[in-house]
Point group: C2
Chain length 305, copies 2
């Protein structure tokens, strides 16, 4: 990523919050996935390998940051964030497989199908998807069944055919079709935007915010989701593979249209900045308590991986 | 399957019920998966290809048969059965893939990864898993959020690492390990038993039966689940590939221990009969209204595919 985008370091509020949520999500996965002494051990190990100790944990960070606006118990928000992260991790495992993106590196270590095998990768992904809904439906999470079922509903919709998986399918189609900007935008709203939006939504659900009170938070989520993907495309085009911990420039090689190929680097970068500024404006009704959410928005364009 | 087991035809009560539930589940999938005019069309088509017009629909039949004991609205029970079937179908798609069982035939037609491609098969399975939880969390299903969240909890647990997927992992391990009868039983209780038990449990949840009132139904479910798998092993050892609509004798070729390899054909068959008799005894507190559940139990040992 060029200097113009990386000259600001994430502030310490965000840095501390990232370190904290990474530890919390790791601890939650660790407690949720104790390796049994039976022939399922290898599956548990593959799930732990992929779920523990990697990733920015941006989605759990969003859940906890929004939930904290409404005084939600932090350990509950962390578990909900871990459920969401479980979906994200499963999608990466399946996406990395030979029949999909065929990637060999993820978070700087061999992908699950290489560290284990393809069959274990399929099953680890499948089990992590189920785990997300096990965590959210657990009566120990929150007593109110309405809160739990709304969390399930939000995550199932955001991760399924009308969300993440639908976006992944469009992404495959992008290799052979030539998408315009509207279609690429739709693709990315589904592929990454839906789950980021779900993170914000689930924080609000935990806070008992009714749907009509979520308008501004949804605007924030929509904008950072799109900005996130534009920056992903910029990092893919300009980034360093070692810093990223994964293979880059695969989209161009596959002949896929991206925000960068359609807008060019300069317009893509300014578009990401505009989106982030608008995202921050959506938080105007909140005071200092939303400072972390503002920092997350700025981080989206400033990150270098 | 030998004559001694197939000399009784399923009675017309069961026959009619199977035809009816097959039509209802097909209609429910059809209504739930309208193909959109966008690049996700291929994914929808693959989901429809695998979900519509195949399979015995034994799990939805169990949901509706149990729900009917308690006067549950049939269309609600059918949707819950379709959610459960969505999980079953996704597991078959992933199980058939080259890196798993590498099967080319399912319900007499080419498996999804052959009719489409491996990537589409991965995503169709992933999307069908999410669909199950979308159906169950839909507020239009039942107003009471407690019923919906209990349905989600039951299905997530039964399909995840402590249920179906855990059993599939043990099944893979069975190729290189030499399991004893206790381990094979545990494997099958997870791999197929958990989802069959969930079908019965979900029917009872719809009927507002409290957990302490489900003991007999759980006994019924546990017994038919095990009998089902023993008969599957018998059909695999003795069945006709064309009638089965799938490849057979793969367990023996893979060197896996099964109920048949461990017990022999005669003891396996008598064990299945004992289990079914016990299953029917668990229904003694019910009258004529449970006749369909008794017929299902008998069908488990009498079926030829």
């Amino acid at each position: 990523m060029s200097d113009t985008v990386t000259n600001q370091r994430p502030d310490s509020l965000l840095k501390d919050a990232l370190v904290r949520i990474q530890q919390e999500v790791d601890a939650c996965f660790d407690a949720t996935l104790p390796v049994p002494e039976d022939p399922r051990a290898r599956l548990y190990e593959a799930m732990r390998y992929s779920a523990i100790g990697g990733g920015k944990r941006l989605r759990p960070l969003l859940v906890t940051a929004v939930a904290s606006l409404f005084g939600v118990d932090r350990s509950v928000a962390v578990r909900v964030g871990t459920a969401l992260e479980s979906i994200h991790v499963y999608s990466l495992i399946h996406d990395d497989m030979p029949c999909m993106d065929n990637d060999s590196l993820r978070h700087g270590k061999p992908t699950v199908h290489l560290a284990y095998d393809d069959a274990t990768a399929v099953l680890a992904g499948d089990a992590l998807q189920a785990l997300a809904f096990e965590i959210l439906s657990d009566p120990d999470l929150v007593g109110d069944p309405f809160v739990r079922i709304e969390l399930v509903r939000t995550l199932a919709h955001a991760s399924g055919i009308n969300g993440m998986v639908g976006g992944q399918m469009m992404d495959i189609a992008a290799e052979t079709a030539s998408f315009d900007l509207a279609t690429v935008t739709r693709l990315q709203q589904l592929k990454t935007g839906a789950l980021l939006a779900a993170a914000v939504e689930m924080g609000a659900i935990l806070g008992h915010v009714p749907p009509e009170g979520r308008t501004h938070l949804r605007g924030y989520a929509r904008n950072i989701g799109l900005a996130f993907q534009i920056v992903d495309d910029l990092l893919d085009a300009e980034g360093d593979e070692e810093a990223a911990g994964k293979a880059l420039r695969k989209d161009a090689e596959a002949g896929k249209e991206t925000f960068v190929s359609l807008l060019g680097i300069d317009r893509a970068r300014s578009q990401a900045r505009v989106l982030v500024d608008q995202a921050i404006e959506f938080l105007n009704s909140y005071g200092e308590e939303a400072e972390l959410l503002r920092a997350v928005a700025r981080y989206i364009v400033e990150r270098d991986r």
